[in-house]
């Protein structure tokens, strides 16, 4: 098959469209994640989503609940994990890294158990690392709706999100609820990380969230610039990853991730080449 023929396959086209729709959201949410330094939280949330995926697949295939959609399950469990982690980190009582690690592993364990109990052809690997041939038009609609909703929330509250990431104590003094906006931000991150689960899988998605923003932040001077550049890098990685994987007959998800890593390294290398700006302590 030629590249064009493969891109004409409805599944591949759906996957590409879904991935491109999600790019702006990955750019925006990824910027907050990198700036707030919570990529391990985003990682835990993404991995735990496998629990929701597994439960919904089991309910649909074994119990016959036709409405149980793995993507809905993924979003529900990801939001739940985000809220639990958020409340624990805000409370400061528990050892938060322990809780984050536990949610990470428990969600995956539950997902693996459910998926392994399903008779037939459900492939665990395709949920872990992505599988283009399972992306349906319904998924595209879901990704589009979720992107529109979360995009609107990001636009409305971008100042609160930036302030909470920059200096939450000052935000509290201003009488603005840090708890509310931090949890809302974590929910946005949760939705974002599961949107591309079909394409890149729960394990690899974290790189697509954080690396474009981290690369953009090496030179961009303001938050909107970082978000825009991160979105662009995301699009380059997704399109490039699709083309390369189709040409070379490789699995698409990992190729996208490796490409985004190359872009990140290139950005860091270019930055190193330039004269340093004033150091942090001025």
């Amino acid at each position: 098959m030629t590249t064009l023929e493969i891109l004409n396959s409805p599944f591949v086209r759906n996957a590409l469209i879904a991935a491109l729709i999600a790019c702006p959201l990955l750019g925006v949410a990824g910027t907050y994640v990198v700036m707030k330094r919570i990529s391990y939280i985003a990682g835990a949330v993404a991995h735990s989503a496998l629990g929701g995926i597994g439960a919904c697949l089991y309910a649909r295939e074994v119990l016959g609940w036709a409405w149980a959609d793995p993507m809905i399950g993924a979003i529900a469990v990801a939001i739940l994990s985000a809220l639990v982690i958020g409340l624990v980190t805000l409370g400061g009582g528990e050892r938060e890294d322990t809780v984050i690690g536990a949610i990470w592993a428990v969600g995956m364990a539950a997902g693996i158990l459910f998926i392994k109990e399903i008779p037939g052809q459900v492939q665990l690997n395709s949920w872990l690392f992505g599988n283009l041939s399972v992306v349906t038009p319904r998924d595209v609609t879901l990704v589009g709706t979720a992107t529109a909703l979360t995009g609107l929330i990001c636009f409305l509250f971008h100042r609160q999100f930036a302030a909470v990431c920059f200096d939450d104590e000052f935000v509290r003094v201003r009488g603005v609820s840090v708890t509310f906006f931090y949890l809302l931000l974590l929910c946005l991150v949760a939705v974002t990380v599961v949107l591309l689960v079909r394409v890149v899988g729960v394990i690899l998605v974290i790189a697509l969230l954080t690396l474009p923003a981290a690369a953009a932040a090496t030179w961009a001077r303001s938050l909107p610039m970082v978000m825009g550049a991160a979105t662009l890098l995301c699009v380059i990685a997704v399109v490039g990853g699709f083309l390369i994987s189709v040409q070379a007959n490789l699995v698409t998800g990992p190729v996208i991730i490796l490409l985004v890593a190359v872009l990140y390294l290139a950005a860091v290398a270019l930055r190193k080449g330039k004269p340093a700006t004033r150091s942090a302590d001025g």
Binding site: R159, A163, V171, S222, G282
Partner: protein, 264 residues
């Protein structure tokens, strides 16, 4: 007599399960003035600041700020924290940082023109009018501290509360800083926390001494006895008067201006 701006009545505060950090503090400040809050490290200065802001609630006693509970009046206070745990590469322009001082719970979308104008004015107040569009991360320590003061000023506060503002500032710009605070103190109460007794200069007329106990003194009454009580040691107080000619005293960058007596 004017209503008190800050009134502490027999206030005791301890962190969970610990000894009191602030013990039976009673004092009242009723004038717009420049006041220094001094005391040794870990003496409770930052705790006192957080009590004034209503971020902490005392176990005993009552605190009134502008005649109300501190949490209610927090928005009337401009606050500059001691440490800013921000990512040193955080991509924000100086103006974006200042605009955070206007943030409200339900501000939607883009900033208003009024907010942007207020941010410009606040930056001019701290002599950084031309830095609005420069990245915050690229400014010097002293410039950043002034941006943070502008962020506190942009909400037009009636009180300015600065926690160790000199800690991240080069000593060469200290005089400039004092000048700025003295100017601001004409319009509002300016409270400056410092572990450095050298901060108490001519324009500071009252000093709040904090070392578990809290006492308000006029600066004129500040002598070796009070300082020895406060810091628990016999101190040599270095007079810090910026009118004295160059060379008459030496400033060592980074060393405290307040040292225990070397004599036995």
């Amino acid at each position: 007599m004017a209503a008190a701006i800050i009134e502490f009545d027999n206030v005791t505060f301890a962190y969970k399960g610990g000894r009191p950090v602030i013990d039976r503090a009673s004092f009242s400040i009723s004038e717009r003035d420049q006041i220094a809050i001094i005391g040794p490290n870990a003496g409770g200065k930052t705790t006192l600041v957080k009590l004034i802001l209503g971020l902490l609630t005392p176990q005993q006693g009552s605190i009134r700020v502008f005649g109300e509970s501190p949490a209610e009046t927090r928005h009337r206070v401009g606050y500059v924290a001691q440490h800013l745990h921000f990512d040193s590469k955080f991509p924000l322009l100086a103006r974006d940082v200042v605009l955070m001082g206007r943030l409200k719970q339900w501000d939607f979308g883009l900033t208003s023109r009024k907010d942007r104008e207020a941010a410009g004015t606040a930056l001019e107040q701290v002599s950084l009018g031309d830095c609005a569009k420069r990245p915050f991360a690229e400014l010097s320590g002293g410039q950043r501290q002034r941006v943070l003061i502008a962020r506190a000023l942009v909400s037009r506060p009636e009180m300015l509360l600065l926690d160790e503002p000199m800690a991240n500032v080069d000593h060469t710009v200290e005089a400039e800083f004092r000048q700025l605070l003295t100017t601001l103190a004409k319009d509002m109460l300016v409270l400056v926390v410092s572990h450095d007794i050298g901060f108490v200069h001519r324009e500071v007329r009252h000093v709040v001494c904090v070392n578990r106990e809290v006492h308000l003194h006029p600066t004129t009454a500040l002598d070796g006895g009070i300082l020895a009580d406060l810091f628990g040691k016999n101190l040599r107080v270095v007079r810090h008067d910026h009118d004295c000619p160059d060379g008459e005293h030496i400033h060592h960058d980074g060393t405290p201006r307040m040292q225990p007596h070397d004599n036995p």
